[in-house]
C-alpha cells in the first residue's frame, strides 16, 4: 500500500512538472515578455538589462527551474495589464470561484447520488422514468444555454433571483464570502445549478447503473435471504458497493467543475478566476493565463490523488496486502 501511495505521489509530481513546462513555455515563447514590460519607448540597453534581470539569457533548463522555484513560493509573475503580482490578483478572485465550485459540487453529489439511488430502486416507476428522460436533456444542453435559460425563467420572468454578480460579500481575513448575506446566497443559486447540472446528471446516471448492477449481485440476494430490511439492503449493502466505482468519476467531475467555471462565470459575470482568465485572454495577459492554467492543473491532480487514496479507506480489499490472506 505504501508503495502504491508513493508511486501515485510521484506520478502526480511528474504531471505537475509537465504542466509547469507548458505554462513556462507560454511565458517564454508566446509574445515577448520584454516588449510587454517596456512598451514603445525603449533602448537596446534597456532590453538587455531587463533580459538579464528576468534571467532570459540563462540556459533554458536553468530558467525552467527558476520558474518552478518561484511558482512554488507563490511568485507567479506580474500581470501585464494590472501591473500587480498575479498571486495577489488570483488570491482576490479565488474565493468567488471556490465558493461557486463548492456549492456546485455539493449540489451535483447530493442530488446525483440521491436521484441515482431513487431511480435505481424505483426502476420502473413513473417518476424514475421521468427523471431519466429529463436527465438526457441535462446532459445534452450546453452549459451556457442552461445558464441563459435559468436566467430567463428565474431572473427575467419570475424575478426571484439575480441574473449576475455575487451579491454582497463579507470579508473574513483574506477571504471574501457570499455565504453570509442574503443577496450573496441568492446570487449563488443559479450559477451553481448551471455549473453543476451536467455533473449532477452524469453522477446520477452512473449511480443508477452501478446500483442496478449491485442490486443483482449475489450478496444482495443473500442479504435478502437473511431477512434484512429493504432499507438496510438498499442504503447499507447496496449503496456502499455502488459508491466505490462512483468515487473516481465524481472526483474527476469535481475537477472539471472548477475548470468549466469559466463558462458559467462569463454567463453570470461571476467575479472569479474564470472570468479573470477570460479577461486575460482578451489582453494577452500571459502571466495571468499561465497562472490560471497551473492552478487548475494542480487542483485536478490533487483531487485525483485524494480520490485514489480514498479507495483505500473505503475498499478493504485494496489494503489486503498488509493483512493476512487466506488462513
Amino acid at each position: 500500500m505504501l508503495a502504491y501511495v508513493i508511486r501515485r505521489v510521484f506520478q502526480s509530481i511528474f504531471v505537475l512538472l509537465m504542466v509547469g513546462l507548458v505554462a513556462f513555455s507560454m511565458f517564454r515563447f508566446v509574445g515577448d515578455p520584454v516588449e510587454n514590460l517596456l512598451g514603445q519607448e525603449r533602448t537596446q540597453a534597456d532590453i538587455e538589462r531587463v533580459r538579464d534581470q528576468l534571467g532570459l539569457n540563462d540556459p533554458f533548463p536553468v530558467q525552467y527551474v527558476k520558474f518552478l522555484g518561484n511558482a512554488l513560493q507563490g511568485n507567479l509573475g506580474v500581470s501585464y495589464r494590472q501591473g500587480r503580482p498575479v498571486s495577489e490578483i488570483i488570491a482576490e478572485r479565488a474565493p468567488a470561484t471556490l465558493e461557486l465550485a463548492g456549492v456546485s459540487a455539493l449540489f451535483a453529489v447530493v442530488f446525483g447520488i440521491g436521484l441515482g439511488v431513487f431511480t435505481a430502486i424505483r426502476r420502473d416507476g413513473f417518476m424514475a422514468n421521468f427523471i431519466m428522460t429529463t436527465s438526457l436533456i441535462g446532459v445534452s444542453l450546453p452549459t451556457f444555454l442552461i445558464g441563459i435559460l435559468l436566467i430567463y425563467i428565474f431572473a427575467v420572468e419570475l424575478g426571484w433571483l439575480p441574473s449576475f454578480g455575487r451579491g454582497e460579500t463579507v470579508k473574513i481575513g483574506g477571504w471574501s464570502t457570499g455565504f453570509l448575506t442574503e443577496s450573496g446566497l441568492k446570487a449563488i443559486i443559479l450559477p451553481a445549478i448551471t455549473l453543476g447540472l451536467y455533473q449532477m446528471t452524469l453522477i446520477m446516471r452512473l449511480v443508477r447503473s452501478e446500483m442496478l448492477e449491485v442490486l443483482r449481485a449475489d450478496y444482495i440476494k443473500f442479504a435478502r435471504a437473511r431477512g434484512l430490511s429493504t432499507r438496510a439492503i438498499n442504503f447499507g449493502h447496496a449503496l456502499k458497493n455502488t459508491l466505490v466505482p462512483v468515487i473516481t468519476v465524481t472526483g474527476l467531475q469535481i475537477g472539471s467543475i472548477i475548470a468549466f467555471a469559466i463558462i458559467t462565470e462569463t454567463v453570470f459575470q461571476w467575479p472569479g478566476v474564470g472570468l479573470l482568465f477570460i479577461n486575460a485572454i482578451q489582453f494577452v495577459d500571459i502571466p495571468v493565463m499561465a497562472a490560471y492554467l497551473m492552478l487548475i492543473s494542480v487542483m485536478f491532480v490533487l483531487i485525483n490523488l485524494i480520490v485514489d487514496l480514498l479507495y483505500f479507506v473505503i475498499d478493504p480489499r485494496l489494503s489486503a496486502g498488509a493483512s493476512t490472506r487466506g488462513h
Binding site: F222, A225, L228, H327
Partner: protein, 329 residues
C-alpha cells in the same frame, strides 16, 4: 399425522413471455417434516432452484408463483405481504447459496454481517449479538473465531467463506434451511467437509434441510428423503435408501445407473440418451416420454400425476395399477 413443517401444494411458477407464459415449475407438491433432510436432484433446468426461491419468497421477477400454495407450520406463506415475508426470511427459513465468494458483501466484516442479521431478528444488544456470532463461527469450524470475526470476506478461503455463510443462514435459528448446491463452487477437497458442517449444524439447531444438488452421492449420505425433478415436476419422491436401491421411475433408474463410483471423478448425473426438453416445447403427456425406454401410448397423451407406491410417490403410468388410491384421469 402432525402438521408438516413445510408443505408445498401444486406449486406452479411461470415466466411471462411474448408468446404467453412459460411454465418452469409445474404442479410440484411435497411435505417436509421437522428435522428432516430432503435432497432435491435433477438435471440443469429442472426447476430445483426456482422451487427453493419460491419457498423463501425470493423469485426474481418476472418469474412468479402462478398458482399453488406453500405452508410453513400450517400457515400459508406464499401470499404474504412483502414485509411479513421478510420477517420470515432468516428467522424461519434460511438459505445457503452456491457461491460463497459472491454471497458475502465484500465491504463489510464478517462481524458486521453476522451481528446485523442476528439483531434484525432477535432482541439482543450489540455485545450479546457479537458473543452469539463468535459462537456460531466456532460451531461451523472457523479457527480463532473471536479474532477472525473482524476480518473481511476476502481474507477467508472459499471453504471458510461457505462456513461463514452457513453460520449466517443459521444466525437466527430458522426451522428450515434451503441449501442450493452449497458445494458446487468449491474445491473438491473441501466439499465433503462443508456438507458435514451443514448437516451437523442443522441437526444441532433442529433445522430441516432442503438440499439441492447434482451429486447423488451427497444425497445418499446426507438426506432422509429425495425428490427427483424433471421438467419442472417431481418424477419420484421417497426415502433415499429405497429409491437408490430400487428406483421406480424410469428417469430415476437412469440417474441411479449413472451414480459415479468412488473411482470416478465424474459427478454429473445424466447418462440417459437425449436431453431434457426446453420449457417452450415440453411434450404432452409425460415430459420424459421422448427419452423413456418403457414409453407406451398413454404416456404421450396423458400427464401422470404422483402415484403413491409403497412409501413413495412416482409420476409414471407404469404404476397406475399398483397405486393405493384411484388415480383421477
Amino acid at each position: 399425522m402432525p402438521t408438516p413443517l413445510l408443505s408445498v401444494r401444486d406449486l406452479v411458477i411461470e415466466f411471462p413471455t411474448r408468446h404467453g407464459p412459460l411454465t418452469a415449475v409445474d404442479g410440484v407438491s411435497f411435505d417436509l417434516a421437522a428435522g428432516e433432510v430432503l435432497g432435491v436432484v435433477g438435471e440443469s433446468g429442472a426447476g430445483k432452484s426456482l422451487t427453493g426461491s419460491a419457498i423463501i419468497g425470493l423469485l426474481d421477477p418476472p418469474g412468479h408463483i402462478a398458482s399453488g400454495e406453500i405452508y410453513l407450520k400450517g400457515k400459508r406463506i406464499d401470499n404474504l405481504r412483502a414485509e411479513d415475508m421478510r420477517a420470515i426470511r432468516g428467522r424461519h427459513i434460511g438459505m445457503v447459496f452456491q457461491d460463497p465468494l459472491t454471497s458475502l458483501n465484500p465491504l463489510y466484516t464478517i462481524a458486521d454481517q453476522l451481528i446485523e442479521t442476528i439483531r434484525t431478528h432477535l432482541r439482543l444488544s450489540e455485545r450479546e449479538a457479537r458473543q452469539r456470532a463468535i459462537g456460531l463461527l466456532d460451531d461451523v469450524g472457523i479457527p480463532a473465531a473471536s479474532r477472525r470475526i473482524d476480518d473481511y470476506p476476502h481474507q477467508f478461503s472459499g471453504g471458510m467463506r461457505q462456513r461463514v455463510v452457513i453460520a449466517l443462514a443459521l444466525a437466527a435459528e430458522p426451522e428450515l434451511v434451503i441449501a442450493d448446491e452449497p458445494t458446487t463452487a468449491l474445491d473438491v477437497s473441501v466439499q465433503a467437509q462443508i456438507i458435514d458442517v451443514l448437516k451437523e449444524q442443522c441437526t444441532q439447531h433442529g433445522a430441516s434441510v432442503i438440499l439441492i444438488t447434482h451429486d447423488m452421492g451427497v444425497i445418499a449420505e446426507t438426506a432422509d428423503r429425495v425428490a427427483v425433478m424433471y421438467s419442472g415436476r417431481i418424477a419420484e419422491i421417497g426415502p433415499v435408501r429405497e429409491i437408490i436401491q430400487n428406483a421406480k421411475h424410469p428417469y430415476t433408474s437412469g440417474l441411479m445407473g449413472s451414480i459415479p463410483t468412488l473411482a470416478q471423478e465424474e459427478d454429473r448425473l445424466v447418462q440417459i440418451p437425449g436431453s431434457m426438453p426446453r420449457l417452450s416445447d415440453i411434450p404432452p403427456g409425460c415430459p420424459f416420454n421422448p427419452r423413456c425406454e418403457k414409453v407406451f401410448d398413454k404416456c404421450r397423451v396423458q400427464r401422470p400425476s404422483l402415484i403413491p407406491v409403497e412409501n413413495r410417490q412416482v409420476a409414471c403410468w407404469l404404476y397406475e395399477d399398483t397405486g393405493t388410491s384411484e388415480v383421477a384421469t
